[in-house]
Assembly symmetry: C2
Homo-oligomer: 191 residues x 2
């Protein structure tokens, strides 16, 4: 491994945010999953969650630009199991979803442990997922079309999470546990 590569892996690990994640509710288009994984990598999410039936981990097209090797994908067999298991781990689950209780996405405090729940192109977030979520957020839109592409919506919301966390200095020290950090480093360095 070159010294540059060694430095890069360490820098990226020092920015990973174990208390920020994303959960997809039946998003099954591979290119959407791939773009979401790429978004996760960009803001420092190490583990992404998906409700099956989702695509298998491998047959992604170019959209991921190899990001699937840097982000772990964890599968759940129902949105209920996904949401509840994250809540048990201390996450607030925030659905990107329109409802009477929706707030503007900038009004959520993403420096608390947050899992962003996203819906599929046609169906959106399921009723069950929306009911279980701790909050609903929306990105304001002023056009004719009713929604954004799921990876664009996720990118916008995660960028706000990153901004808030940067302000709080959460990218300035390693936030992974020692053991977890070395396990990931080893996996990345010697695949």
């Amino acid at each position: 491994m070159t010294p540059e590569r060694y430095t890069k892996l360490n820098q990226v690990l020092d920015c990973r945010q174990p208390d920020l994640t994303l959960l997809t509710d039946q998003v099954h288009k591979p290119r959407n999953i791939a773009a979401l994984i790429r978004n996760c990598d960009a803001v420092g999410i190490q583990q992404m969650h998906a409700v099956t039936p989702a695509v298998s981990h491998r047959p992604f097209n170019g959209t991921a630009r190899g990001s699937q090797q840097w982000v772990d994908l964890i599968m759940h067999d129902s949105v209920e199991n996904g949401v509840i298991s994250l809540q048990h781990q201390g996450f607030k689950v925030v659905a990107a979803h329109w409802s009477s209780r929706s707030i503007n996405y900038t009004d959520w405090d993403y420096t608390q442990p947050t899992a962003l729940l996203l819906g599929a192109e046609r169906m959106g977030v399921s009723t069950r997922g929306a009911d279980l979520a701790d909050a609903h957020v929306i990105v304001p839109m002023v056009g004719m079309v009713a929604s954004l592409n799921v990876s664009v919506a996720a990118g916008i919301i995660l960028q706000e999470a990153q901004r808030q966390r940067a302000v709080k200095g959460m990218y300035e020290y390693c936030r992974l546990e020692e053991l977890e950090r070395s396990r990931i480093f080893f996996r990345w360095a010697y695949p």
Copy 2:
């Protein structure tokens, strides 16, 4: 036309921002163009610009969700012609591009007439496009992968433009010229 439809068309027209636009530099994947058009519609961009060889306007897949009927696509035969014609119309051209003169995307004032220049998946913004641009902006990233999907990057930057313009009250009154506004209304109402 139902009264609801009539109201909706008028509300959307009253939010259109004639002094905000987007220019693609050889982005040719139809689904990326489609997602970019959808982003434009969402923040109130009425005219989007593309440098050919770009895809023709029609064969878009589902990603646009019909947004191509609400946003006009204007073609240019080179990035040079595209950038210079926009600059002649008074736009500052801001390239989403890494260089020694890049600034954080939140540090640009998008309430001035702004055209966002975006590059293709592999090539990025061309050297010629980058040289001609008035400024370069980047969305900060902390992961292993070097870039975001083009529609995600555009969505994040345009959302910041929308936020700044909302703060300035630029969505609170109709910003299209009378004649232009009725031409578009007519086209939308009686296609």
